[in-house]
Symmetry: C2
Subunit: 346 residues, 2 copies
């Protein structure tokens, strides 16, 4: 818990220097090293004093009595906050991104590739989540009898997300067509959420009226054909191999990988921290509050939007020792690209 007054100029400079060299080297940083790299010739002793203050304020920690200092969670937060945000991607990175994403017009494919390219440029784990969620507007639905007892339901959202689901249901194709027609005519453009509740209401009230048609609709509804709920979310996680670094111990690494495989948790994580309203890149330090296995990991993400619609989110997960500046610019670059590419093609 940080105490004391904010931080003076010199403190600020030293703190960011510590954070930066720690990120670069991974070793606890001591006063001597710092004195050498510091452009104003401050002596180690002076720096020690400042460091002691910073430690008291909760920005630095000591692995053990006579080691250097390591930035605390607070320190990273502070560091990120005072980052100018002025930076551009290297030619290479930009090229790689452009190339991987070139010519994609399909939201889902875009997301899939994005998670990959994110992992490449960040050298960490790239994640994208496509929200199939309630906020998406319905474009239309389509039902098709498959076999004896099976019906295929395809739901297309306005944003081009496609969900299919096989139901156990025995209805003649005629009835299916009628039901699809009914839904498309009445609900095109509605959010899934609104549609579902309105549909529920009508089924309740007008049961008698439409009769056969409504019976079919009801069956489809009950079977979840129209549920664009959590289970419909699509998650891409790539670059797990990047987590294998010497500083992870066995157990932690294992837990980490396990967590990354639990898509549901990942969705919740991004959902919890990436606010749809906020425009820019967001950095969340201290993921262990949500996911214990993610101690010492951070999330750098942004909502993926096309115009004003939020289609999902994209993010990088990496150790606190990540290159914040670089990752942030990369994420933001890709987020903008997402908007641009999918917007113009509509």
């Amino acid at each position: 818990m940080p105490t004391g007054q904010p931080i003076g100029e010199r403190e600020r400079e030293i703190l960011t220097a510590i954070v930066e060299t720690f990120i670069a080297t991974g070793d606890p940083v001591g006063s001597r090293t710092l004195a050498r790299s510091n452009r104003e010739g401050l002596s180690p002793a002076t720096i020690r004093n400042v460091m002691a203050d910073l430690a008291d304020a909760g920005f630095l920690e000591q692995p053990h009595a006579s080691a250097g200092r390591v930035p605390s969670t607070e320190a990273y937060r502070y560091y990120v906050e005072q980052l100018t945000g002025q930076a551009s991607l290297s030619r290479q990175d930009e090229g790689m991104i452009q190339e991987s994403l070139h010519g994609v017009s399909d939201v889902q494919e875009f997301m899939e590739r994005t998670s990959h390219v994110l992992s490449l440029v960040s050298h960490n784990v790239g994640i994208t989540v496509a929200i199939g969620g309630p906020k998406n507007a319905l474009e239309h639905v389509y039902f098709s009898r498959l076999g004896d007892q099976k019906v295929l339901a395809v739901v297309v959202t306005r944003s081009g997300l496609v969900r299919d689901r096989v139901l156990r249901l025995d209805l003649p194709q005629n009835d299916l067509d009628a039901a699809a027609h009914f839904i498309n005519d009445n609900f095109r453009g509605w959010t899934m959420e609104a549609m579902r509740s309105e549909l529920a209401r009508r089924l309740e009230q007008e049961r008698s009226v439409y009769d056969r048609l409504m019976a079919s609709v009801e069956q489809l509804y009950r079977q979840g054909a129209l549920a664009a709920d959590e289970t419909a979310q699509v998650v891409f996680v790539e670059g797990a191999a990047n987590l294998v670094t010497s500083e992870q111990d066995q157990k932690r690494l294992q837990e980490l990988l396990q967590t990354l495989e639990e898509k549901q948790k990942i969705v919740e994580l991004l959902g919890a921290y990436l606010d749809a309203k906020q425009e820019a890149v967001r950095v969340v330090i201290g993921l262990d509050e949500a996911l214990p296995s993610m101690r010492n990991f951070v999330l750098i993400g942004a909502p993926a939007r096309v115009g004003d619609d939020v289609m999902g989110s994209l993010a990088v997960i990496g150790p606190t020792r990540i290159d914040y500046q670089h990752t942030m610019t990369a994420v933001s670059y890709i987020a903008r690209l997402f908007d641009k590419m999918l917007n113009e093609s509509e």
Copy 2:
């Protein structure tokens, strides 16, 4: 390279004992340990002699001069071969499998869950591949205009596999409907392969006749709307966390994880080794021939079929030190279940 005459009874027994205790413990096994666990009271010295023979024959290796012996690739092959195949799953495993797969009628969902349950029961990596490939019969296609320049193509195969693809194309919905009708009427039940070549032929010849209709079809065809090719394959890989064990070194682990993320390679791997014709479980020892990063790993897999149609394959990938008997029964059990569940529901 194995030399010498096959193997006598005693050799056989000792070899399997070595393989088994090595699988159990992970340590090189020495004559003393073996003598203790061997039910016929053979002395260490005798065993040493036999072991020397086995080593000459290429079945055993020595990490260093005065360590115990470790089974060679050949030894595993031999071991697996002489496995009786008589074994049944534990109540727990069976229960877990049943539960995870209960009530699923959708091929793809089945596969997704299967890869998960495979990783659970085997404590290794579970993999399933759904072949979207050319052999699948077409049930029907469906095109829908999305936005300005986009068309959604949905292809359903007889087996219930669904593929959707967004194309950049500007055709009115009428034309799309006509094209879909045309294809459905003419090609339902054809294999994708056959359909594509026949379609190509017709487009070539009868260009003039159908005119507008055929023009639409051609455009769709060119855009790959009907391509159920490799890219359409769906791969599920789960349980990567199980690879994190003490005996892996950093680098290898990293490569391994990387390889597992390259779905294309995984598809090829399964494709290469899992022969659609063969009925039963197959064990492939020595994966490094195909994928160098998979040195010391084995594949235990089976084709996933429904009736006579091969829908894909399911497999476990694990270290040579895997519990062969258990994994084999698990894989075979699930493969049978797959057939049974999807067959009856049709």
